[in-house]
Symmetry: D3
Subunit: 282 residues, 6 copies
Amino acid sequence: MNINNKQLDKIVENALKEDLGFAGDITSDNLIADCHESKAILKFKEKGVLAGIPVVKKVFSKYDSDICIDFFKQDGEVIENGESIAEIKGNTCSILKGERTALNFLQRLTGIATQTAKYVDKVNNDSIRITDTRKTTPTLRILEKYAVRVGSGYNHRFGLYDAVMLKDNHIIAAGGIKKAVKKIRSQISHTVKIEVEVENFKQVKKAVSVKADIIMLDNMELDEMEKAVNYIGEQAIVEASGGITLENIKAVANTGVNVISIGALTHQLKSIDISLDFVGES
Amino acid sequence: MNINNKQLDKIVENALKEDLGFAGDITSDNLIADCHESKAILKFKEKGVLAGIPVVKKVFSKYDSDICIDFFKQDGEVIENGESIAEIKGNTCSILKGERTALNFLQRLTGIATQTAKYVDKVNNDSIRITDTRKTTPTLRILEKYAVRVGSGYNHRFGLYDAVMLKDNHIIAAGGIKKAVKKIRSQISHTVKIEVEVENFKQVKKAVSVKADIIMLDNMELDEMEKAVNYIGEQAIVEASGGITLENIKAVANTGVNVISIGALTHQLKSIDISLDFVGES
Amino acid sequence: MNINNKQLDKIVENALKEDLGFAGDITSDNLIADCHESKAILKFKEKGVLAGIPVVKKVFSKYDSDICIDFFKQDGEVIENGESIAEIKGNTCSILKGERTALNFLQRLTGIATQTAKYVDKVNNDSIRITDTRKTTPTLRILEKYAVRVGSGYNHRFGLYDAVMLKDNHIIAAGGIKKAVKKIRSQISHTVKIEVEVENFKQVKKAVSVKADIIMLDNMELDEMEKAVNYIGEQAIVEASGGITLENIKAVANTGVNVISIGALTHQLKSIDISLDFVGES
Amino acid sequence: MNINNKQLDKIVENALKEDLGFAGDITSDNLIADCHESKAILKFKEKGVLAGIPVVKKVFSKYDSDICIDFFKQDGEVIENGESIAEIKGNTCSILKGERTALNFLQRLTGIATQTAKYVDKVNNDSIRITDTRKTTPTLRILEKYAVRVGSGYNHRFGLYDAVMLKDNHIIAAGGIKKAVKKIRSQISHTVKIEVEVENFKQVKKAVSVKADIIMLDNMELDEMEKAVNYIGEQAIVEASGGITLENIKAVANTGVNVISIGALTHQLKSIDISLDFVGES
Amino acid sequence: MNINNKQLDKIVENALKEDLGFAGDITSDNLIADCHESKAILKFKEKGVLAGIPVVKKVFSKYDSDICIDFFKQDGEVIENGESIAEIKGNTCSILKGERTALNFLQRLTGIATQTAKYVDKVNNDSIRITDTRKTTPTLRILEKYAVRVGSGYNHRFGLYDAVMLKDNHIIAAGGIKKAVKKIRSQISHTVKIEVEVENFKQVKKAVSVKADIIMLDNMELDEMEKAVNYIGEQAIVEASGGITLENIKAVANTGVNVISIGALTHQLKSIDISLDFVGES
Amino acid sequence: MNINNKQLDKIVENALKEDLGFAGDITSDNLIADCHESKAILKFKEKGVLAGIPVVKKVFSKYDSDICIDFFKQDGEVIENGESIAEIKGNTCSILKGERTALNFLQRLTGIATQTAKYVDKVNNDSIRITDTRKTTPTLRILEKYAVRVGSGYNHRFGLYDAVMLKDNHIIAAGGIKKAVKKIRSQISHTVKIEVEVENFKQVKKAVSVKADIIMLDNMELDEMEKAVNYIGEQAIVEASGGITLENIKAVANTGVNVISIGALTHQLKSIDISLDFVGES
């Protein structure tokens, strides 16, 4: 599982700039000797699914390439309250400068992975995918999509550029599902899939008839969903979306859909509490 | 209330890049005529404190300077479920390209303002400030701090560069609170305040004795807080922090502290549901 | 047909920087009065398919937003030797500063569109697509892919990020086509297509058996291609690639493949000669 | 022979971004183990003059600083069809991610060096320079000018900023060659040369009379060129330009001009076919 | 004493770009062998307080990470005319490329430190601070503020963002000092100090009455300054500003002010002459 | 007279960022109403040669495109103490945000133009050029070179890329002046001049013998300079450099050299005092 290294670089650079400004860390720089070295521990203060190791490494290495970070745990592991996950050694000022930024990333991404894992566990069916949406935090999408994968979820499209999604406004503008799919298919690359968002059974039939690659059942009732799933069969991938919660996801899964996409994976956030504690000079 | 325009520019640019990639919106661009114009409405789907108007305007104007957005509501107003807040008119493709990014910003910032307002309302005392912390989403700090202000909260320092905060690790490294404050005061600009984080009454007395500008009571019991408040009096600003919730904030406020800083304003996020609905061609 | 405006902006900015350096156009700036205005004509010096209007507009508007450009022709039109395509009016220095950069873009993109149109005309069959590849000029891919579309060709994937392409090295690394397709399908988003590159009929059968979305016949003989096409039928999109020339493309098309991808559309370049002539003061 | 390292960095960064987008190489990242290592060979598939080693090294090192590239050949060497030029060892995913971008650069630059060498060989006279022009691919000028030097050609000016070139439009605007040269000389730095483009013998005489440093004979007939060369003597550098081909270049050279500048070196491109073949795990 | 490493990086990158342009150092690159190594010495040609070591190191390491620089002196040391301060060893071309940029920085920063030290020496009283202002060279503020600290001066605020300064225009706009301080205090973070610029004793009293943190006596007569100092006592930090020279600074200091801010530290510049001399091949 | 607009843009952007940081102008933004408008006057507080109008315009327009600036004077005019040069009207906060940055630029550039004009006046001979050097403030070279031109001086080369300058180290490395000139001439573009730095008459003769375009007499005695001038005649441009002051420049000019280059034009800075005064609401 990877994060595009060049994009990660840019994001972390922007994050450090924001915290350090022009003058830098005026507390540490003016108080602590340049040569002072410390050892610190990253520790979970509540249970969660660890996500964000490459980001934490990047934060510290970006400011000071001599810092050593040794992770005892891997992204995707369930960490208990009180468990340590990594040891950081190096220049004390450098650790202090990266601390807040590293934790801000790590707590959020771990929060997303933890939340994703809850939905995946609830469904408890390997043949059904739980996916994210484009409802991610602006500028951090690749990190949040990584956290979803870490939490055993899957990604939906990355942006407006890597798959076609025909929503109601597109369909209205084109004069119906059939016209929309035909027109778009005649324009886009043969390497791109077409997903159609439908709201009722009539639309399902139209989407099938023009061979949409993916049919997204938007906010449908469970029985209508099931009817759609049965009708579509293997002719398209069936995706359920809209109003999915931990309470109703199992029922949605039971309709037989292939994919359940959930905006709340990334737009409702419960950060997991993680601390960085100094444990001595190194 | 303002957001630094140049920084906002950069953030929105990065957000649009992420969603549009290199190829752009392959659905809209291939389906909808270049000259097609539409009218759309931004509408709240649940109650909340509106925050993010300058960001929404920037998103659309950045991609297409001809789009017109007319907001009927101001940032800071409480919006009811079902209320419309703005009308957007212009090129249909441009509206569709900005839609998700604009909503992703608006829903998050409105969520933060709404959450902040709840804490402020609970305290219900103008002489006590509810503030954010540096536990903000990396790269979006200036926007989230703006949303806190919109929700009637206040800002804590913006970064490591604009105020001194002596935490336990600094104090240990310097050999105690007195040495730390004296050393840092001899180095930093006379325009910068010094805040000291203390954990017990003994530390409170030391911080007062060296004239710390702000004393932060970290995770103290209510009675110890009150004792500290009484001891400090007007000699420093007193800030409470750590473990503040909607349940206990009123009690914390009652101790007489001046400032209550709450990480959860920005690191626990409940986005407010807001939709962009097309209402016809313009 | 669109070019992502934000990316175009960046490319043109880099191109202008390269020609103007730090000191700018030392000839024009030192010779011609700031207020001098001129009128110039863009004229084809040989026959070709016009491509690049949005780029030319961007070059001039980027340096001087007051320049007026009026195109009499549209991208995609066949222009004869000697025909004028646009009139440019405005500050003389600004026109001279943009001239070379604008022409360098326009001549190359027109060259690509013209070359593409030749392949498309040779095949002369709307149901078969001529597509580009990733063998584009580094940093200019979105412009060259635009020129291919202008020349009635189609685009293949934009980069490594928007479709899966399993080449021989991937297949070897994964232990065969079947394993490769299964593994990749279990990882990637359900919105992404999988293309498999095959070199013989045995591989064709394997690719079909694991439901590859696209099967690329790499450098196959015509009879083997035809055999593959017949075997695959509607089970996958069939793409021919490798060694396609204006001489053999009709024969390749006759095998019944759906798509023919041609690196030479962008990696062999015959710029079309276009001039910018001043025709008087404006 | 050098390429400005900082500019090369920026170009390669932009090129990699374009191919990797935000999500990166979704094929390799999802299929191949992070720790998998390979060995690959760069091999010429047709004869050519190698150009682009620093660019290839930068592409791979930029993405993964642990990749080792060992070149057996130097830029400027004639490579035969089938000859290997380099061995690349390192992380398999990193090699695959850089492959297409590295080849796209190398094939183009080698194409330019090869083409340049043909013109130089045709003239076969060390005292006559074959130079490029500003008709280079936008954003890649420094690389293409490097390739021209590698192919035993010379560079003309790099941009609008490092030499004065008075073309017809400048001359008209200034009221003749004499006025133009005098005015420009009174403005520009004494470190900058003045080149004047002339179309007939009358203009040649004027350019000589005001001591132009370089006189460019634009699209002149051979006999007129010779007349100009004889007249000018050592009073200025004589440059021929316009309509130079492999067929007529020897005749042009025979007129005695000092420099022959050829746009086609960079605006007509025949990429040389070079492959990257995996030869085993390392 | 530190310079924010990331900002330094950006400044040095921009400085090198400016000197190297696109084509690089055409003299050295075309004359000196790639593998040629040299040794050079940085030497003071007049007496001064050394300032700028981190900048010099960054300039050379940025272009060529293999260059070794060994400084025998520290920033802040007084260097005599003729004294060597560092030895530089490495690639000759790299040293030549960085030479001018490194010296341009070093001579200016050393000039600022030297000038600052003169003011500090004149006052000769550790309890009174000599500070800079915002009258710094645009884009180089963090470096110049560093040089002031190196010269035993102190920094004033870094920008418009890290302290409040109420000047006459603000005070007029707000309707007086009292209203201005009250309004601004109700808006800004509790971590930010408020400085008020006053011109007469009446304003001093108002500023004290609203508990301004810092009161700046702008261009006051000495006796009025002394009256203000006595009135204010420990109620605020007292800063003198405006028209301070080496001639009058001692008298100003004798009034008992805490801080003297001097624009001339950075807006009048006497560069110190420092040379880089090659002393042999290494 | 022009400044490259794109480079100016970048410089001003960096300058504004530095002053506004992330939080912006916390004084003005929190004190003054968004809609408040003012009128301000730029006024000289001492005599000088105005330089920097395009920079001042860019500073204000960059932050707020609605600000109107009306200059009554032109760059290059001598302004007396007390004279107003421009009126600025618009949003009060925007004017306050740009004020310091605009003045920091304007005072420095005007200082440079004023200083340059003094040297030019001293020589008082149109046929002798006073030029700058590369000893400019890093990152601001194009602005300082513009100010030199405004002060009736001329520019030397802009960087390492636009002219060859053979200094002692180059000459030693190449094995003498003759070898150095021959080698470099065989490598560089025919559009580039070669300047040779010489220290004695023997070197002058060598430089002439290999037809150096410019011969720079480095720190020569007046009589030796005159001897060199007489020897060189029209065979090269003669430049004097090193230790030029207002006291000795007339004598240097009298030796008959063509060009006198002076580092002090830009590395010794006396900013001219200019104020921005609010004169009422607009």
